[in-house]
């Protein structure tokens, strides 16, 4: 504990000290102006972050904690559920992110064309984004019930025996990913609509004069000029996919067994079981994982953008 508080102190002290030293640089605000936010920031963000780094090194029962070094991390990586959770997380993030990019772009192209009731259709696509995730999860749990669910009953009318969407280990994760895409594609579409609308009309007209068909103008004008939108959608949905939890928990609780567990549900179950130190270690790992994936990706995607 002492280590942490000392660390945090030195950190929060450092900021004002630095600003005092660099006082020659003109700042429109006085030091006191920053203080309230700095305080809130340290109490609510800095202290817990560093405290969690400390607690991840302890065996912690909420009532007392015992320093055990890196044992939690060792145990977390030995956890059999973790390997499954790890691969599932990556699959889930890539599948949902990829589908959102493709579907979002296609929907955006459709919804920026001249169709009847465009405004209405746009809001319909966006509507699932506004609904509570837990609500969507519970609703689809009922719809996807293998025996009594609407989806399989509908399929059986046309003679198809639907699988156990959430109860068959082969389908469970993909079913949740599908619902996630349904729920989240509205946001991707919105971003793409903004991107497409901002493309100057002259390019399209010039292309048409040069004899480009709709496919070529999509491929050579809309797609490249939408790159900023694509970058935003990929990063947002990838982060969302990597840390997704509510939908999975509401629909399968990581089940059947451990087959649709992702890292966050593994961590949550450890919290539930009272392994507070171990699950805090899990959160530190999740934090590092998301950073390790998103930072280089963001750098890579943004670099491309500048080159263009």
């Amino acid at each position: 504990m002492t280590i942490t508080s000392a660390r945090v102190k030195s950190r929060s002290d450092a900021t004002p000290a630095a600003s005092a030293a660099g006082g020659k640089v003109y700042s429109p605000y006085s030091f006191w102006f920053y203080l309230p936010t700095a305080l809130i920031y340290s109490i609510l963000f800095l202290v817990p972050t560093f405290a969690s780094f400390y607690y991840s090194l302890t065996r912690w029962s909420l009532f007392e904690s015992k320093f055990i070094g890196l044992d939690n991390f060792v145990m977390f990586f030995q956890e059999p559920a973790l390997v499954k959770g790890f691969t599932n997380t990556l699959i889930y993030a890539v599948v949902t992110s990829g589908s959102k990019v493709v579907l979002g772009l296609l929907l955006a192209v459709l919804l920026t064309s001249r169709i009847v009731g465009r405004g209405y259709l746009r809001s319909v696509v966006f509507f699932p984004v506004l609904v509570s995730t837990i609500g969507v999860g519970l609703l689809f749990q009922v719809l996807m019930n293998p025996e009594r669910g609407l989806i399989n009953e509908t399929l059986s009318v046309i003679g198809i025996q639907g699988p156990g969407w959430l109860t068959d280990p082969k389908w469970a994760l993909m079913s949740i990913a599908a619902v996630d895409v349904w729920k989240g594609v509205g946001l991707a579409t919105l971003i793409y609509i903004a991107g497409i609308v901002s493309i100057p009309r002259e390019y399209m007209e010039a292309a048409r004069v040069d004899g480009a068909g709709s496919w070529e103008s999509f491929w050579r004008i809309v797609l490249p000029l939408c790159k900023p939108a694509t970058v935003t959608v990929i990063i947002l949905s990838l982060i969302g996919g990597l840390r997704s939890f509510e939908l999975i928990w509401a629909m399968t609780r990581g089940g059947p067994g451990f087959t649709s567990d992702v890292i966050s549900s593994v961590i949550y179950k450890q919290y539930q079981a009272g392994f507070y130190g171990l699950s805090t270690a899990g959160n530190v790992i999740l934090f590092l994982l998301v950073t390790a994936i998103i930072l280089p990706l963001s750098w890579f995607l943004n670099r491309k953008e500048v080159e263009m």
Binding site: S61, P256, F258, F275
Partner: protein, 443 residues
């Protein structure tokens, strides 16, 4: 910028709502003050299961009738691991209510009783408690809890009409049980031999947990060795049986078709309506079933999970839940809380609980009797209890070691995702974390 009327209305509404909430908070506080001296209100936290709430409210009502001036407010929390977290968080932040209901045995040990709970060792009613129960709420020689609810059996509930129709006999060994299942399946009629409800994962564990009497009959020192990290589920032939049985009913195709998605109420419905023959479950669910299907009081019976040896076959018991007073309860409220515990642990308290719904089994208080009209399934527990050595406590009351993932593992084993042996080995890994968290020697 001009305010549109709509926005203004919204702002007004927001301010109004704020003012209202401020008002109600204030008035709550003042009513507390005015009634302070003559009457005490204590809060009792219980789980949000229908039957538990009914029981808690009945207890609160009967207690207030006997103790005018004390009212008991019932508050609810989720059960399962989510509830464990709420209890631990509220205890560690000093935010616990005056009296709360929580598990006994291994989970009781995990909430650091010496640190958080008030010892009730010197209360007169402690002498009237059942010894088995007393052990499960004792830490360092101090008793901390009063029993609420009755003993529960982890057993097989079976449909009596299905048994009479096919002329079956209550099985004492696993082989007889499987033979019955084969006959039920062969007779057709869409009756599922074994009901499993993996939509609610905790219900999947009974073949393992309810088999413990048979384990301890074969290996009497299993619990001790288990606590000391010397016995394992995967390597003890008797203990492994539970996992093998879970797998066997799946391999033989004896489960109901919707076993993967069905939930507890679906299972109870199948059993009560004769669409399913056997349901391995806790006898605590009987009251719920009878509240929905009154006929089930007569048509559903109970037998202990069958093992290898007919002579030593017996019932695995779960002790009642405990009522605890946290150390944060003080003054008038503490006196009231102590009186409440004394009431619950008295014959009057048992009577009050029996009124709220069918009991789950015998009570842990001396002098308490079951009403004459208990359901057949509960009556069927009595012979096991009367016979010497035909019942024993579940492992979680004899050893603090209990892993959190057993329910997921048994779902996998019972769904054919994982083999029994592998599942048992995985559970052995799972309990390691719990043992280390508790700081047990030898792990």
């Amino acid at each position: 910028m001009r305010f549109r009327p709509g926005t203004r209305g919204l702002a007004l509404f927001a301010v109004g709502a704020l003012a209202l909430t401020a008002c109600s908070a204030g008035s709550l506080g003042s009513s507390d003050d005015s009634g302070g001296s003559s009457s005490v209100e204590i809060t009792y936290l219980t789980t949000n299961q229908d039957q538990d709430v009914k029981e808690a409210e009945q207890l609160a009502k009967d207690f207030s009738a006997k103790n005018p001036g004390i009212t008991v407010k019932v508050e609810t929390r989720p059960g399962g691991t989510e509830g464990d977290n709420i209890i631990k968080t509220r205890l560690s932040t000093g935010d616990m209510v005056d009296v709360f209901n929580y598990n006994t045995g291994s989970l009781f040990n995990a909430i650091a009783p010496q640190k958080n709970l008030l010892s009730v060792n010197d209360e007169p009613w402690v002498a009237n408690l059942d010894d088995n129960f007393k052990k499960t709420v004792t830490a360092d020689g101090q008793v901390y809890g009063a029993p609420v609810g009755g003993f529960m059996g982890g057993a097989v509930l079976y449909s009596i009409p299905v048994y009479t129709k096919l002329g079956l006999k209550v099985p004492k060994t696993w082989a007889e049980f499987m033979a019955n299942n084969a006959k039920i399946k062969a007779s057709g009629g869409g009756v599922a031999p074994v009901i499993q409800t993996y939509g609610e994962t905790w219900t999947s564990q009974l073949f393992v947990l309810g088999d413990f009497h048979n384990v301890s009959a074969a290996e009497p020192d299993f619990a001790d060795k288990y606590t000391k990290n010397q016995a394992k589920y995967a390597t003890s032939p008797a203990a492994l049986k539970g996992f093998e049985h879970t797998q066997a009913v799946h391999d033989a195709g004896y489960e109901n078709k919707d076993f993967a998605s069905a939930k507890l109420p679906d299972g109870l419905k199948m059993l009560a309506t004769g669409k399913g023959a056997h349901y391995p479950i806790l006898s605590g669910v009987v009251a719920n079933m009878i509240a929905t299907y009154p006929d089930a009081a007569k048509t559903v019976g109970l037998f202990a999970l069958p093992g290898d040896n007919a002579a030593t076959n017996g019932l695995t018991l779960w002790t009642p839940g405990g009522l605890y007073i946290p150390k944060t309860t003080t003054g008038d409220k503490l006196d009231a809380a102590k009186k409440f515990l004394a009431f619950v642990a008295s014959p009057d308290g048992c009577k009050s609980q029996s009124e709220a719904g069918a009991p789950t089994g015998p009570y842990a208080v001396k002098g308490c009797t079951l009403p004459a009209d208990v359901p057949q399934a509960i009556k069927d527990m009595q012979p096991y209890l009367d016979k010497q050595g035909a019942s024993s406590l579940a492992l979680e009351f004899l050893s603090p070691v209990k892993g959190p993932s057993l329910e997921q593992i048994t779902v996998e084993v019972g769904s054919g995702i994982r083999k029994a042996k592998d599942g048992a080995a995985r559970y052995d890994e799972d309990v390691k974390k719990q043992a280390q968290q508790l700081g047990l020697a030898g792990w």
